[in-house]
Symmetry: D2
C-alpha cells in the first residue's frame, strides 16, 4: 500500500522541498495541507502516515505552530529531519518591471528575512501578508487581481506558477537554513545509528525550586549535550513556560535512558517526541565515562553489590 | 516640550491600548508605526522619545520582532511594562449576518488564538492574513473591496471603524494576556522600587563547556529568580542561540550587580536591556542571605580582611 | 557454632561497651585486639566473624585507623552501628588524694577531650600517653610502678581494675558520643529497613575537572542526603585525597543504586562499605520524587518508549 | 628586637626542622612548646611572634590539634608554609643489638607510619606511646629507665641525644611529607605573589539545604581550585561538621574576594586563616575569564550601566 505523506502546502513551499529531499518519500503519495495543525491532525486520525513540518529556522527561530501542535493532543514522534537552505526570489508576472512594483506579497516570516534587501531596492513597496510564500506566487498566476504586484517566494514556486524572477537570493542572511522534521505516530522507533538526536517537551512542576537549572542538571550529570532549547508558554498564564529540547543521543542509549528517567521523576510531564538519525550523520561526541560500556560496567558492579 | 511616544500601529491595536494604559503618556504625542522595527529605529534616531512594543504573549510566547530588534543595533533599554488582557471580537460592516461570512481577516497571531472558536462557529470561513488586527478592521470600513467579510480585532478597533460586533470574547484561552514594554534610549535608569525586573540578552562563548547551565548558575548562586527565558537564533547558523531573559531585581541591587558581572565575564556579550518596575508592583521575594544588607556585611568583612 | 566478635581492646574500652550494646553479640565470643588493624586483619583471615571498631567521634572527628583499614586490603562491609556516649572519669588506686597526682595516663584522644578540666583542676599534672584508656587503668592495678599516678578512662575500666573514682564526667564537652561500626566480610547484606545508611569510599580520577563537586552532584541529582564526609590522604602525595562518605538509604533503594552507578562511572574507584540500619531507627527523609515508586514509574515509562 | 618563634617541641621534632627551613627565622629566638595548643595560646597572648605547627601529613592526613586550635579562640592567620620530607630512623643507646629490642617508643602518628617495617623486622616488639618522636629519643638518653629499648624518631633527634641508628628510612611510604604552617596574629597580610594559597574554615548554617555542595559552588562559579578539604566536627553533636579548606589564590585577587563574600553570606561563619605564598612557588593556574582584568572589565561595565 502506498505511504501517504502530508506536508505544509501548498505546492512550492520550502516544506515540499524538504519532503522531496526525503528519499523514501518518492514512492509515496504527497498531500498538501493548509496548516501544520491540519497536517498533524490528519496524521493523528490516520488519514496520512507521516507529515513533514518545519520546526526551526536559523533566522526566525522555533516554529511555534509545530512546537505547540506536538506539545498537546495524541502523542506523535519525530522519525527524521531534513535541513533545507532557504533562498528567496522576487517574482512577478512576465513583463513586470521592478519600478512598477508598489506592493509585495509573501508570508510574514519570509518578509522578515528580506527586509534589508527591500529597504535598499524597493523602499516604497507596501507589504501584503499572505498565507504562505507559495500562496503569494499562486495569487499572481491566477485571473483574480491581487493587492500586490510581486511575490517573495522559493525558486520552485516561481517556476510552478510561470512567474518571472526579477531578483534571486534576496534573503538578508546568506546561509539561512530551515530544519524540517518528519513526524509519525508512535510505534516504530528509528534504529540507533550512533549519530542520533532525541526531542522532548518538558513541563515543570510548579512547586520545584531551581526550575530550569534542575532540568539541565539531569542532562549534565549524564554528559548529554543539548542542541536546541525553546521555551514555549503553557498558555495557562503569563510567565508559565514549558521547554522544547533537542539533545544528542538515542533513547536506547544508556545515558539517555537514565536522563529521561530523571526528567520523568522531576517534571510534571515529559513528552517524548522521538529519537532519529541526524541528517548530517555526525556521530555523537559521547562524553568520557558515559558510554554504554561505562554504564554496563556500573550496572554489573551494582548487581554484584546487591547480590542479584 | 511634548514627549513623543511611538507604538506599533495602526490605531486600534492592543499596543495602542497598552500605551493608553501608561498614565504618563497622556500628556504626550502618540505616533503609530507600521512595525516594531520602524518604531525602534525612529527611537534610535531620536525622532521619538519612547516606544511601546509587545514582548510576550501568554498564548503565542515571545514576540520575535521585538526580541530581535532589541538584540542588535544601538542599545535601547526597557523603562516600564504594561500587561493588557487580550479579548477578540468578530466584527463586520453593519448588517452583515454571520452566515454570510466567507472569509475572515486578521493578523496571524490573532488567528492562532481564535482557531477553536472558528472551527466551531465558522468552520468554512477562509483566513486572510492582514498586517495587524486593526488593519483588518480598517479594511472593512473603507470603500475598497476586501478579500474578507469580517475581521477579528480588539473591541476598540471595531468601535474606531464603526463596525458591528457579531461575537465577543472569541479567544480560545480566556485570560490571555500580552505584555508590552516601554522602550527608551539609555541614559535614565528607572528608580529602584523593590518590585523591579531586569531584562538582558546573553550571547554564549563558543568554546565554553556547560553552556546554558553555566549561565543559569550565575543567577542561582546569587539567589536570583528568572521570570522569562527565550532562546533566539543568533542568525549565524542553525543551532546557534542567544538567550533573552527577564529576572527579578534591579541593576542597583547588590545581588543583581554581582550576577551581571559574572555573566559579563563568562558570556561573549551581555546586552543590558533595562531595570524597571513590575506593573503588578509585587515586591521581589528576595532569597535568604542575598539582601543588600547581606552583601554589605560581606563586603565590609572582606575590606577588613584586606586591610583596605 | 559460636559467633566470634573481635573488638578494639583491651577490656574496659568504649569499644567493648559498644559491642556489649549490640544485643546479638551476647551469645557470641568476644575477643580483644590491640589495634583496629589487627582486628580487621583477623576478620579478613576468617579468624573472627565480625569486628566492632570506632569510626567517628563527636569531638575528635573521624577515626583514621578505621577509615584507612577499610579503604584498602580485601573488602569488608559495615553491617551495623552503635553510638556510645563518652564519659570520662579520673581514677586512681584506692587512697590516692587528688593533690598527690603528678602525672596522668590516658590515650591521646581522651587527653584531648579532658584538657579543659585538667587545666582547671590539675594544672601541674604531666601527661603520659598510653595505648588506650583501659590500658591506663590496667597499668595502675598491677604491681609494676608506672610513670603516672592516675588514669583518665571509662567508668567500666575503673571498675574492672578496682580503682577509686576521684572525679566523674570530666570531658570538656558534655554529650560527646563515639560512633562504632560492626564490620563483617561481604556476603550478607543487612535487610532494608527504611531507616538505613550506606558507607562508601570514593577515589577521584586525576583528570576530571570539578573534582569533589562532580561527586556531590551524583548524590544531589538523586535527592540523597550525606551524613558524614571525611577526606583522607591517598598516601601517594600531599594533596591527593579520597573521600569517606556516609549517606542515607540502602543499596537496594532505587535512588541509591542509580547514584552508586553514577559514582562508579566518574570515580577511579568506589569502595562499597555496606548498607545497614541506623541505630536511632529514624526513617530516611526521602526527598520528593525520589521514592522507589517514582523510580519505578519512570522505568516503566522508559520501557514503553523503548518498546521493550 | 628579636623575633620570637614558637614551635611544637621538644628539640629534634620535624616541626623544629620546618622552622629551621624557614630562612627568616635564623635571626630569631626559637622556643619549644609541649603542644600545638600551648604554642598558639602563647602567640595569642603575644608571648611569641609566630608559631610553626604541622597541619597536614601525606600519610596521616590533617592534623586535628592544629585545625581545631585555629578554628576557635582569637583569630590567627597563616603567613607561610614549609613542606618537610618525613624520614624515620630506629635509634637506641650505643651497643644495643636489634634482637634485644623488646619494646619501641614513639609518637602514635609515627608508629602508624612504620607498622609495615616493624611487622617484618621486629614483629614481637611492643609499642610504647610517647609524647613526641623526639621525646622517645630523649627518654633513652637519660638515666631514668624506660619501658622501651629503642625509639622511632627523626635522624636529628637520634643525633641530638647521642643514640645509635640501627635502621634508616623505615617509613612504610617513601616520599612521605608533612606540611607545616607558620602562624601569626592578624595584621600583616603577606604580599600577593601570583603563587598564593588561602586557608579558611567554613561553618554551615543548619537551615540551608544543599550543604557542602552550596559552599563548593561558591568556588566553582569563580573558577577557584581547592587544594585541601578536611571536615572537622563542630563538637556540638555527631554529624555536625565544619570544613577546613585551602584554595589557590590570594584574598587580594578579585575572584577570591568575590568567593569569600559569597561564602560569608551563605555560611554561619567564615574564619579567614590567611593568604600566603606557596612554598613550591608554582604560579596559580587561573581559570579562563577569572583574572583580575576580567573582573575589572566587568566592574567597569556594571558602573557604566548604573551610571555611577
Amino acid at each position: 500500500m502506498t505511504t501517504r505523506y502530508g506536508y505544509l502546502g501548498p505546492e512550492g513551499t520550502f516544506t515540499q522541498m524538504a519532503l522531496l529531499a526525503w528519499g523514501q518519500s518518492h514512492d509515496g503519495e504527497h498531500i498538501a495541507f493548509g496548516s501544520v495543525d491540519s497536517a498533524l491532525d490528519a496524521l493523528r486520525r490516520s488519514e496520512i502516515d507521516a507529515a513533514m513540518v518545519p520546526i526551526e529556522n536559523s533566522v526566525e527561530g522555533g516554529v511555534s505552530a509545530t512546537l505547540d501542535a506536538l506539545a498537546s493532543g495524541d502523542p506523535l514522534v519525530v522519525i527524521g529531519e531534513v535541513n533545507v537552505p532557504i533562498t528567496f526570489v522576487l517574482a512577478a508576472p512576465a513583463g513586470t518591471r521592478r519600478e512598477e512594483i508598489r506592493a509585495v506579497g509573501t508570508h510574514s516570516h519570509a518578509w522578515a528575512q528580506v527586509r534589508g534587501w527591500m529597504d535598499v531596492n524597493l523602499p516604497d513597496a507596501a507589504y501584503v501578508p499572505t498565507l504562505s510564500t507559495a500562496a503569494a506566487a499562486a495569487g499572481l498566476s491566477g485571473e483574480v487581481s491581487q493587492a500586490y504586484d510581486a511575490a517573495v517566494c522559493a525558486p520552485i514556486a516561481a517556476e510552478n506558477h510561470g512567474l518571472e524572477v526579477l531578483a534571486t537570493d534576496i534573503g538578508d542572511r546568506s546561509g539561512a537554513v530551515t530544519r524540517f522534521v518528519l513526524v509519525s505516530r508512535p510505534g516504530t522507533l528509528p534504529e540507533r545509528t550512533g549519530a542520533d538526536k532525541t526531542t522532548v517537551m518538558l513541563f515543570q512542576r510548579h512547586n520545584r525550586a531551581g526550575g530550569l537549572l534542575e532540568l539541565l542538571e539531569q542532562f549534565a550529570v549524564r554528559g548529554i549535550n543539548m542542541t536546541r532549547l525553546e521555551s514555549r508558554p503553557t498558555k495557562n498564564s503569563l510567565g508559565s513556560y514549558c521547554f522544547s529540547i533537542d539533545f544528542e543521543g538515542h533513547v536506547l542509549d544508556e545515558r539517555v535512558g537514565e536522563a529521561l528517567m530523571g526528567l520523568k521523576r522531576v517534571c510534571a510531564e515529559v513528552r517524548f517526541l522521538g529519537s532519529y538519525p541526524r541528517e548530517d550523520g555526525a556521530a555523537v561526541d559521547v562524553a568520557p565515562l558515559t558510554t554504554d560500556a561505562d554504564f554496563g560496567r556500573a550496572r554489573d558492579w551494582l548487581r554484584s553489590l546487591r547480590g542479584t
